[in-house]
Subunit: 312 residues, 2 copies
Amino acid sequence: MKFLIEGEEEIGSPNLGKFCEDHKEMLKADIILVSDTSMIARDIPSITTGLRGLAYWEVAVTGPDRDLHSGLYGGAVANPLNELCKLIARMTDDHNRITIPGFYDDVAEVSDTERIQLAENPFDEVKYKEAIQVVQLQGEEGYSTNERTGIRPTFDVCGLWGGYTGSGSKTILPSRAYAKISCRLVPNQNHEKISLLFKNYFESIAPKSVSVAVTVHHGGQGYLFPIDHPAYLAAEKAYLKVFGKIPVPVRSGGSIPIIATFEKVLGIKTILMGFGLSSDAIHSPNENFYLENFFNGIKSVIQFYHYYSQEA
Amino acid sequence: MKFLIEGEEEIGSPNLGKFCEDHKEMLKADIILVSDTSMIARDIPSITTGLRGLAYWEVAVTGPDRDLHSGLYGGAVANPLNELCKLIARMTDDHNRITIPGFYDDVAEVSDTERIQLAENPFDEVKYKEAIQVVQLQGEEGYSTNERTGIRPTFDVCGLWGGYTGSGSKTILPSRAYAKISCRLVPNQNHEKISLLFKNYFESIAPKSVSVAVTVHHGGQGYLFPIDHPAYLAAEKAYLKVFGKIPVPVRSGGSIPIIATFEKVLGIKTILMGFGLSSDAIHSPNENFYLENFFNGIKSVIQFYHYYSQEA
């Protein structure tokens, strides 16, 4: 039994990949177990069989060399904030599809059979909307909410800033505008290729009146775990023993880039046995973890080791 | 001779209008002189005969009630920053015209004769671009740079913020996005009407997946000063005496909302004798004022009082 603990997952695990490269022998194993995923609900155990990949960029749009008086120059000099908004708006269309040329080329389309299975997972739209206080959901046309977060890529502005942001008003035409942008990717999409496609497209459609720079922050590949793998079967038995129910296989919208690295560098699959709930408010204020799941999680992992040693 | 000094011009003079209403008798005068404008160049004196009006708004776009994990929710929940960018992008078209319905209805079109006069003002595009370090100018199709800043309205984002704006990356779908937006208006456009048109349009095209709120900050009307007015003729003589040249009448892109208020409330015209230069970098770092113009300005104003007392 080997334990591997790192604290850089949220910034893309910049050092763990090299650590794996450097210690392949020490890290040899039959299977890796990671607890960083969620269950569908308190009474519905589930095993995450797919993770999305990620590409994260920062863009800078520069106009004049200083903030200008918006009266004296406004209308004659391109405004970097206006232009950044226009560029971002052009990255998606009216059907909420991403317009970067080639973006969907490598997306592994999910079979109708699997889409039917996914549709069987319980989903309460009213509760889902209530939990985050929105009146209407929005996403790519032709896909359900679970499909939009599970099997489809995304384009999200994570942060944007520029110009005067204090209280009251200041009539300036700003010199610079910035945005942090990330795309969740699906299995078979290569984050380095996607970053290149984005950078080329973003820079090519920018007007000459401003200069545009795209910096790639970090990225990670998506991941798939087959449900006929011995580790999956062992995990299934473990959940059944502790929760009294056969777990449901689900695709998660999140990314754990190191999982794909483990497979690529060490050649080892990772079984994802996580015990979070959607009410945990992860990455949000009042993040929490339900104690019952904490203890049932410990029990399930113990059972997994037991059954996996029999399967393997 | 009466002196009126206020320190709130940059935030829209919120109290001076009421002060005028309350002290009409005390403020009675034949003419008002304000020094808050520029000259074309050190050796080309000019008198500003037109000012643009202004409307200034703050918009807030709200999605979920907290920042969400962009992996778990991304693709299924509308992102307020994406939506704000799309809304702002829709406010102007590919010809850099403003798309708010009715926006141009009251714009006083300038006669071909006056456009020809305006075109005679010296303008060096290379120097203009060099001074602010941009490689290409951009503005409404069919108008020159001086027309774009002098006789045409604008739509500028003065500030925008939302989501994660620190260093590095954070993969969130933000809860809220904000922007400060201002339009420079031209004579005959009413800033209150324009604010209503903007608010209605902005709110009407927002998707139901987010909520949108528009707050009106402040505004001001545009202004026109006739070049055959006795005060204009007196100012012309004053500049000729001090600078040795007849001043050129120009339209300024800036706004001095109180000038329109003086006319409306007190019934007094304002002659704009300003001595700034475009190299003063006003509203920017290293703002400065050329000493020669400071002293020539004092002399010109003294001459103005002399000639105006003869004209009037």
